[in-house]
Assembly symmetry: C2
């Protein structure tokens, strides 16, 4: 029954700091073999291989064989879909930031009254 959707797989893949760091490395340092990626983690290499598998199945990375290495490469298309998913929510945080702005604007005047000192009896 619980056949995960594409979106489930993408968000689940992103819900782990190790996998997000893998994506960052592939983004900042370009395509790399597993060995090079593994140097940045305390984790065992097989565990890292499984993280890469999760990213692969979410479509977030692709793999190319080169001799006995496998070069992993960032695939950003699913992230584009995440951004599309965020779209309809955007106006909500814009509204919230706007009212925070107003609040901050009012503070200089209102602070003296916001926390009134107690009077001695």
């Amino acid at each position: 029954m619980p056949s995960a959707t594409d979106q489930d797989r993408v968000f689940a893949a992103l819900a782990n700091a190790t996998r997000r760091e893998l994506l960052r490395l592939l983004r900042d340092d370009g395509p790399q073999p597993v060995r090079a990626l593994a140097e940045h983690f305390a984790m065992s290499r097989p565990s890292l291989s499984e993280h890469l598998k999760v990213l692969r199945e979410a479509g977030l990375v692709s793999e190319r064989r080169a001799g006995r290495q496998r070069i992993y490469r960032l695939e950003a298309a699913p992230l584009c879909e995440v951004q599309d998913w965020l779209g309809p929510y955007e106006r909500f945080w814009r509204a919230r930031l706007a009212s925070l702005g107003e609040l901050l604007d009012r503070i200089p005047d209102e602070i003296p009254h916001a926390i009134p000192r107690e009077e001695a009896p």
Copy 2:
């Protein structure tokens, strides 16, 4: 040891279709009590309560008591942070879409050669 970060909690909260649908309902229909939300799901109400708890702990919803109801409300700030996180990846899918665009531009000319008809012998 693996104390989840804020970002872990947000992505994990989003990695479930029920919770994403809850967010959509709060976005499209505004703040609501649990009962109203529950009408849209086949799931038991206590299970839904736990999904709301996950969303609460990710900061994606807030709760206000009104009599014996609890009104849930969308809090979009963490989604704003997701968008910020996406920022550095944006150029990757733009690059990819651009080259897809080029490809599509070439198709009208190349299709006749792309799948050549077999000649009769």
